[in-house]
């Protein structure tokens, strides 16, 4: 299974970045091979819909599940459409999140956990 976790750094021991769409890095962790890769989040400063781009990026990475703290409705919608499970409200390090996932202590999220976040539209 591929887990994509929003991270403040490139390492498994870095803290989870609380903002899914605008986090610094994504850690894509493969549960079968116990390997990971860190990918820079290029959508950080997106015109709008950073969460949407981030979700698209997570889908492109082959994510089966996303783990983060805060996720807004736009990003959630894309992940839901792609059939990717969302675990939100998670804090701690990336490693702790992976452990939590493995021992089943993370609960999935049915809906976005923050108020209608709106990546502001590319304004003119």
């Amino acid at each position: 299974m591929k887990l994509v976790i929003s991270s403040t750094g490139k390492d498994m021991d870095d803290s989870i970045d609380p903002r899914f769409g605008r986090c610094s890095y994504y850690i894509a962790y493969d549960t079968e091979k116990d390997t990971f890769e860190a990918v820079e989040n290029k959508s950080r400063n997106a015109t709008g819909g950073a969460g949407i781009q981030a979700s698209q990026a997570a889908a492109d990475l082959g994510a089966d599940a996303v783990i983060t703290t805060n996720i807004g409705p736009n990003a959630f919608r894309v992940l839901e459409t792609a059939g990717i499970k969302v675990y939100s409200g998670v804090t701690g390090t990336v490693r702790q999140a992976v452990e939590g996932f493995k021992n089943g202590s993370l609960g999935t999220t049915e809906k976005p956990n923050v108020g209608e976040k709106f990546g502001m539209g590319g304004s003119n």
Binding site: T47, R77, T81, G121, G122
Partner: protein, 278 residues
């Protein structure tokens, strides 16, 4: 002759001045370009005769065709379209209505429909003011679309007063660039001065002649005056800090309605401007 009334800082008295000018002229065209928060109607109390919807065309995707919409997602500069695992996800609040989806998407599988973003209202205010106002739907980003529709009604053969939105960026520029002359309304405080300096730069870049009216004269300091003097910017008038004016404003009454002598003073402002422009 088109006169715009603007100000970098909000709440300095743009609408008070614009309405004062229009009421004193009696016969003119008045357009409220502050489409996010239009207020002139409270003072001019127009009889609205006509309401025109402002819409943009947004795409909808015929998902049952099983077509591949990935080009739409790749193309969109505003991230309004995502395409994951063969499913398209559309975000109308981010969409500018550019028509790109129709252009690059699978032929016949993307169509468009009108989506309301605001309206333009037209009417008449006493005694002979042609009144127009733009009104944006709260939550919509399309200030510019509503302003663009409003712009199309400017009647160059009349004396025209434009009540502009605050600020110095695109919505202010969109309003002001239609004018022959811009009156900048400010207050004599550090905030007023700071924003006046920025507004002046904008008008210089747009090559629009301008002058200043100081409102709530007396509340702060003389820095605005000094700035105008050192930069050869004419101070057309000073409106005093007067609780009577403030109270009347709160109830929808304009300055000439409280102090009739101001009708002449507003007309003198227009004469002054006409001399400058001609």
């Amino acid at each position: 002759m088109i006169i715009s009334v603007a100000s970098g800082k909000g709440g300095t008295g743009k609408t008070s001045v614009a309405v004062g000018l229009a009421r004193s002229l009696g016969f003119c065209q008045f357009l409220d370009f502050d489409v996010e928060a239009p207020n002139a109607s409270f003072f001019l109390k127009p009889d609205i005769k006509n309401e025109e919807k402002v819409s943009i065309k947004q795409p909808y995707f015929l998902k049952d065709t099983g077509a591949d919409f990935s080009r739409c997602a790749e193309f969109c500069h505003y991230n309004a379209v995502a395409y994951v695992k063969g499913e398209v996800v559309f975000f109308p609040e981010l969409c500018h209505g550019c028509g790109g989806c129709i252009l690059v998407g699978p032929p016949g599988a993307v169509r468009e429909k009108d989506v309301l973003v605001g309206k333009v209202l037209k009417g008449k205010a006493e005694p002979g003011i042609d009144f127009l106002v733009g009104d944006l739907i709260p939550g919509s980003l399309r200030t510019i679309s509503v302003q663009a529709r409003l712009e199309s009604y400017i009647n160059r053969s009349e004396k025209v007063i434009l009540d502009c939105p605050p600020g110095t960026s695109c919505s202010m520029v969109t309003a002001v660039k239609n004018s022959d002359f811009c009156i900048l309304v400010t207050e004599p405080t550090p905030f007023g001065l700071n924003d006046l300096e920025i507004s002046v730069e904008v008008l210089k870049d747009l090559d629009i002649p301008h002058a200043v009216i100081i409102n709530r004269d007396g509340i702060g300091d003389s820095a605005v005056q000094e700035f105008c003097n050192s930069n050869n910017i004419k101070i057309l008038e000073r409106i005093p800090n007067d609780i009577k004016i403030a109270r009347a404003y709160s109830r929808g009454f304009s300055i000439p309605e409280v102090y009739p002598e101001w009708k002449e003073r507003f007309l003198a402002i227009i004469d002054n401007i006409e001399k400058d422009v001609i």
